[in-house]
């Protein structure tokens, strides 16, 4: 019935209290929750290699959500977007990052493993507070409809804050880069929830722009490593004031 309403240009009604959410709403909420959990996982992981795996899994969630939306709302462009997103964020970006890191045993000697500014427990606690703040901020906006699952949007807001926390509490360039990439995933989630029908050309342009950013991040990480023989940012303190 929702599909028929959409085809006629109408807006499907919100589920009434006690009524189970539709496939799209339910899937979006579950996927968003899983993505947030994966984000906390990235925050907690000591090794960047494991963070990369979790990032790839989080990116896969985005592609799955795009397929669900495409099926539910009859948007064939989103299938192409899901494929492109998977190719870039599930495969290409993690591959680039793993190559930058080198063999697993080397990671510990490069000032990466466990490079926190706060202890892991404190970092997680602080992130929970930030996530809650983001969740309720976005939730209070009152932006919701059958096409905009409010819970998924609120979780996207929480993910934005946790991504910033990941960039702040980790003292190595690779983790900070992953924090930025997971910020992009949070924004992709918000984009799928709010702007699923954005023209494919623009969505593709966003993706390739991300690819460009990944390349530049990779080049700068490599340059940093070649100068400092480390991925740690602890020595990036010469420029102050």
């Amino acid at each position: 019935m929702n599909a028929a309403l959409l085809a006629l240009g109408g807006t499907p009604p919100l589920p009434s209290p006690g009524q189970a959410p539709g496939v799209y709403q339910g899937a979006a909420d579950v996927i968003a929750a899983l993505m947030l959990l994966l984000e906390f996982g990235m925050l907690r992981q000591a090794l960047v290699r494991d963070q990369v795996r979790l990032y790839a899994a989080q990116s896969a969630m985005i592609s799955v959500l795009a397929v669900v939306i495409a099926a539910d709302r009859n948007l064939p462009d989103l299938y192409a977007l899901a494929a492109l997103s998977a190719a870039l964020k599930v495969f290409a970006v993690p591959l680039v990052l793993r190559r930058l890191l080198g063999p697993p045993a080397v990671e510990e000697t490069r000032g990466v493993a466990g490079s926190y500014t706060l202890s892991p427990a404190s970092a997680v606690l602080a992130s929970i507070v930030l996530a809650a703040f983001g969740f309720f901020c976005f939730g209070s906006l009152g932006i919701h409809s059958a096409e905009v699952p409010a819970l998924a949007l609120s979780i996207a807001g929480a993910m934005v804050f946790v991504a910033f926390a990941l960039m702040i509490v980790r003292r190595d360039v690779a983790s900070q880069a992953i924090g930025f990439f997971s910020l992009e995933n949070a924004i992709s989630l918000a984009s799928l929830v709010l702007a699923a029908e954005l023209p494919l050309l623009l969505e593709t342009a966003f993706l390739f722009d991300l690819l460009l950013a990944v390349v530049v991040f990779g080049m700068l990480i490599r340059a940093h490593h070649s100068r400092a023989d480390s991925l740690s940012t602890a020595d990036l303190t010469r420029l102050r004031g």
């Binding site: 029908e197 023209p199 623009l202 950013a213 700068l220 990036l236």
Partner: protein
């Protein structure tokens, strides 16, 4: 007009590709030609843009507002292109070709941004400026440059992530009225502004100010700016400060137009006032005690972006006109200042102002020109910045914002003292009688053009601690510096001529702005107030 726009978009990109493949001298020539051509084309665009906006091929648009920012960028592209020819003397061919590739792509992205008709494409253009300029900041291959480029790319990219979120919310708001297949075109959003849902527009504007404000250098998201602007090669610093900040501010102005149409001007003006005053306050205090000449100018840029924000916050027609005049005048003045600072850096072999003395005597052209650039930045007449800031303050007083106008004047005056005390010692204080060889700090603080003269790979010499073979005028300066004696003389005429051009522009804008420019600015200011 479409032909002009297409040429502006194609030429710098083509030149970028070609400059990577040809010898450095040819790359310099075609870069200068491209810059001058683009400036001429933007001038040709002015009459049509003043008459009215036009959209081409669905995604290109030129109106009075975009033309003002194009003018600032194109002028600096031409001027800094000439300057770079002298600045890169003594560099290896490989370094120079990489530089010109990045330089031209950077200029292209900054020229493309104001020509995009859609908020989404505008975001993409500004993202391209970020990634390209981050590589240009790192090109000097010093520890400072590596640190600055990492901070820049991380903070600016995170900011642009917020700006993308702003764009998404703007799309959502627009889709409620224009339909789901809206392509985020700016003018339709403004046209239906009164019907857009208020909450997402409010959130989009806030996120845009925070996100794009990171690139503008608004406090508190400015922390990358002093590092990147001071560690980048001087031509890049000039473009970063004079053109990129303004281009990013242009993006905020487009969101401002949508927000003002939806919410009224009160909320967006209040937001910009807060960020503007914070930026002015921090910058005016931080210009005191700076030892690095380029870092000093970087904080001056934060100050001037604060002035732009406060000017828009005033909202009066004369204030908005002052803001737009300030964009062009600041580009000329800041470009001049950085180009002058670059000459000092080459001459003394350091960016540290305590090591620079007797500048007026040792640099008979660049010394006085640098002094005039600093005076211009401090809004002394007859520079265009004096006129623009006068208009902004007049607009503030006229719209009843007495407190904000007073704060603006006080903070600008404080910044003037900070700039003046730093630069007058550089220019006027004599060299001490028993002067030791110029203190250049660690190897990483020596500009690479000094350390890498005559070597095969830029950066390789100073990293490996090797002593480079030397040739050319810049090399003679290096030998003189090593012996503790500096002779009067300019490193290169190429580094003086564009500063003279910038000075001419500043005087023209201050004394008698051309009628066509005045009409353009008037039309652009009217757009900001809601005219079509």
């Amino acid at each position: 007009m479409l032909g002009v726009i297409l040429v502006i978009l194609i030429v710098p990109l083509a030149v970028a590709v070609v400059s990577f493949l040809v010898p450095a001298r040819l790359a310099a020539v075609i870069t200068i030609a491209s810059g001058v051509a683009c400036f001429g084309l933007v001038l040709a665009l002015i009459p049509d843009a003043t008459r009215g906006a036009a959209t081409y091929l669905s995604y290109l648009r030129a109106d009075a507002l975009s033309c003002v920012f194009l003018l600032a960028t194109a002028f600096l592209y031409a001027a800094v292109g000439v300057y770079a020819a002298g600045y890169l003397k003594g560099r290896t061919d490989r370094y120079a070709r990489r530089f010109y590739l990045g330089f031209n792509v950077f200029a292209w992205a900054m020229l493309a941004a104001p020509l995009m008709s859609s908020l989404a494409l505008l975001w993409i253009a500004i993202e391209v400026t970020t990634v390209v300029s981050a590589l240009l900041v790192a090109i000097a291959d010093t520890d400072g440059a590596a640190e600055a480029s990492w901070k820049y790319v991380l903070i600016a990219s995170a900011g642009l992530g917020l700006a993308l979120l702003a764009t998404i919310f703007a799309y959502y708001a627009g889709a409620q009225v224009l339909g789901a297949h809206s392509n985020l075109a700016i003018q339709p959003l403004i046209s239906v502004g009164s019907r857009l849902p208020k909450t997402p527009v409010r959130l989009a504007f806030l996120l845009a100010v925070l996100g794009y404000g990171t690139k503008v250098g608004l406090v508190p998201v400015h922390t990358w700016l002093p590092d990147a602007h001071s560690e980048a090669p001087t031509p890049v610093s000039a473009l970063l400060s004079g053109a990129l900040l303004a281009t990013s501010f242009y993006a905020i102005l487009r969101f401002y137009q949508v927000a003002a149409a939806t919410l009224g001007s009160g909320f967006p003006r209040g937001t910009l006032l807060v960020f503007g005053i914070a930026s002015l306050l921090l910058a005016s205090l931080y210009v005191f005690g700076q030892r690095d000449v380029k870092r000093l100018l970087a904080y001056s840029s934060v100050e001037h972006m604060g002035i732009l924000s406060v000017g828009v916050a005033f909202g009066a027609p004369v204030a908005l006109a002052g803001v737009l005049l300030h964009v062009v005048a600041h580009a000329a003045a800041k470009g001049n200042a950085f180009m002058g600072a670059g000459v000092f850096t080459v001459k003394y072999g350091t960016k540290q102002m305590p090591a620079m003395r007797d500048g007026l005597r040792l640099l008979p052209w660049s010394g006085p020109l640098f002094l005039l650039a600093v005076f211009a930045l401090s809004a002394l007449p007859p520079s265009g910045i004096f006129r623009s800031e006068f208009e902004i303050v007049a607009g503030g007083l006229g719209s009843g914002d007495y407190a904000a106008a007073a704060v603006l004047v006080v903070l600008v005056t404080i910044a003037f003292f900070g700039l003046a005390t730093s630069t007058t010692s550089v220019l006027l204080a004599p060299v001490p009688a028993a002067k030791a060889p110029a203190e250049t700090g660690t190897a990483e603080q020596i500009p690479v053009e000094i350390a890498a003269i005559g070597t095969g790979a830029a950066g390789g010499a100073h990293r490996n601690g090797g002593a480079p073979a030397a040739r050319g005028t810049v090399a003679m300066e290096a030998r003189a510096r090593a012996s503790g004696v500096l002779a009067p003389g300019e490193p290169s005429a190429w580094m003086v001529v564009p500063v003279l051009a910038g000075l001419a522009v500043l005087v023209l804008l201050g004394v008698h702005p051309p009628g066509e420019l005045t009409n353009l600015i008037t039309q652009a200011a009217a757009q900001l107030r809601g005219a079509p």
